[in-house]
Point group: D4
Chain length 147, copies 8
């Protein structure tokens, strides 16, 4: 079974690459946000012109990024959301909520230390994984129907 | 006319293979749950780690299986649900209800002895078949427009 | 917070009455199927005329009952599904699937001996209760926000 | 114009009470999560029985809380999300994403120091407020059509 | 259980009045098209000005009538469609299809002589009644849960 | 621009073939009901077994045909509905209503003598054509953007 | 039949008051945008703080106004859109498109001199009226079923 | 990431060609209205026959054009709306509203002099561009994830 998978969340480690590599050969189409941090932050003002205020600088970028992320999430069958060690990562949680409301199955990738803080998101998810390798095994199982 | 068909329900006989074989040559894309019973039961704990409690052992597996079944049902044009001789098969009935609420045409495959117990599900279905061969003939008719 | 609750499933014990009594005073509007077994079986032929075949006798009744159940489920905020001791109860599982696909929160009421057979339905539910009293406490908590 | 408003997010300060008090006299129906922290954490095990594992303890509670929050968000016209000083508050961000995907207008209540971390959520919102009083003025304007 | 019922179809006999009278005392809100034939035909040009062409005369009226019928069908729980003796009554069939696509339960009221011509519409319906009295009994059963 | 077009309605003249031939070379995928009248009438009993009653004979066939027609209408961008000279053709009107409720653009093909009887359906349509050739020209214009 | 009506478009003449007065006694709930031009323009910066740039000044106000207009349009059964003599009135056209995509019946109020410029919007509407009085008569007809 | 983009709005300058040329090599499928002004105005009467009244002449054309535009907007991931120097362009605003209600991300292309008149539409958009080149850069960024 072919699958479209959106990889949401943190952009500072190579978890996406690990999952994609571990799923090589499977009929999976991968989607994700722009992972070039600087481009993601500055795309709005780079393309549409500078802003004096940081607030609107951010707004222009975030709004443009949303064109990509909303389209890609809507097109995906499964959304994997990774919560990393650093930053607030409210965006990851927002994407999880967005996907949940669209009825997309969620797989959350997180360390046990965040279990309590993420309990509502975990409760909305089909699986909670601890490593990219677990996510890859789960996707393989869904696609190929075999452990 | 091309068709996507989900084959839901019992996983202990070869009814799926019979239907698929009888439809050879037709433009049908087949979907279904994982039919390896052991894998289906244990996939959750195999991938995400063991559980002390059987209840959560089951939950982990069922939640992962749902990633596949929900995605596949949503993608299908027609859902065939087979009620077999053994087990409670509440899952088959659940899939039938799920598909019905999504507006998917249902074909129920069952023996006459269950007619009364299945009357609400039959009433939600477009056809009640007694053999895989009847299901195959119905799908052929839908796809090819000929008896 | 006001709530509309559909009580689906078995019609041979007084679990509905127990829950409703235990929730007295709460702003809950109750829905459910026709629980007069004979009326539920025969309503179709009683109103629209007899059928020679039991199959179509059942169809007429089940189709009419569906006018009530589908309307009531669609109008409910929460669906409670009770799996009892007797009968196949595929209808209860069908209603659970139907409600799940509509995004209605589910509370399953069942005994532990059916845990494995009901694992997929439990995995789609927000809670698994063992007694009507637990269901009532859960509904109270949802409505009143207090334990 | 009557309005239903869901107040999502942090549960440790009195921002909800401030907004509600400031909107007295307006035709607003208020919704929100259970704000008794202990009840919110323990409702699952209190009602449905204890769990050995903290993970499933949390799951039971979060799943039950979701019955209330999902129902209330779906019923609301506007969702106000407050990001406070403490904790990760991923749940607030999840609710914001959930509401956004349902097409609910969002008002985010946050301090400027979180502007960059919240830029995607702010970009999905109709307004970013700094104080409960600003939220109340905005709701008044929406309901009464006057500044 | 309260019900909203749309009475679609022929406007030359008193079948609507018969059903409504027979349901007196039940919590049913009734909807229907404008049954004053002349007003229904001429409302468009009466209000918005005459047309030289009968085709556009009809268009203006039909478009205005659709404001009422579409709104009322969308708001109804059940749609009863009566096919009478006279005229083509394509409008009745159109309303039936419209309601079916919205997932509204249908009750068709027709004489047996039209069974073959109406077989597709009957197959989309929850019940086929022969008299207004049968429709009334069916609605009573749905609302009151008793024969 | 590629288009999927469903050709609904009468099955006794060659209007479908005329339109398809006149659109040769355009990127149009054609859908339609089974046009073999005997097969369409008898498919249900042929596949699933004979019925004593003509009513249920018809029901079995109509329900199976609906698997094809509903799937195909849902998949189409445009629905063309032809009202011919003979028969009641309530099914054509039903398909028109069904398509309208799904938001599918309609093109009605009919002779002027039925204008008044079809006014509500015409008012729901994007175009009223008098000949298959007009339908073909309209589809060409939509696909190719040129007269 | 009760109706909810949104009055969209120009805010410089008394067309809203005229319609409402002419419909006195009918069961109509009226919705509309904020019609105090200054408040509508400045609400954003008044409540959430001043902006150096006129572009973001406007953005803050328009986003807040959208909370009211989107909610009210979604809640309405019918949307009346008035195109007046002055200004570009793109907002009126935007509201018309928004309502059309939600399947809301439209009544356009405009002078004949704009017929060609408004032809696409008129084609999406159920009626084109020339005076508030015509709109009122149309609404009366829809509500009361009488000319 | 592949993208489907609808280019809505003015048809008298070469902004569409500029954007398409600047995006050469990207996986973008382009949609748009018929841009041959005469064909767009007269398609209805050319195909379905002349009308005495200019109003119905326009209606016939606009309704046929809507078959193309509605289908194409529904199929697109992103809608770019250009407001040019000339004409009222209510149609562009209507398309923007239509796309917004479907949840399609909008990019508005307009000159600063229209900022105030377009503030509500801009507030519904993900980006406001001043030149076709900016639109092209934005689409490149969305598709390729790089500045």
């Amino acid at each position: 079974m072919q699958l479209s998978v959106y990889l949401a969340g943190e952009i500072h480690t190579d978890w996406r690459e690990n999952i994609i590599a571990a799923c090589e050969g499977l009929a999976i189409e991968w989607y994700g946000p722009v992972t070039d941090h600087a481009a993601s932050d500055d795309c709005g003002v780079e393309i549409f012109g500078a802003e004096d205020s940081k607030f609107w600088h951010d707004r222009k970028g975030a709004s443009l990024n949303a064109v990509r992320t909303r389209t890609a999430i809507a097109r995906s069958d499964v959304v994997v959301v990774c919560f990393g060690e650093k930053y607030k990562q409210w965006n990851a949680a927002f994407d999880a909520g967005y996907a949940a409301a669209l009825g997309k199955p969620l797989i959350v990738l997180q360390l046990p230390e965040h279990d309590h803080a993420l309990k509502e998101i975990d409760a909305a998810a089909n699986a909670v994984a601890r490593t990219p390798s677990e996510v890859a095994r789960a996707l393989k199982y869904v696609v190929a129907g075999k452990l």
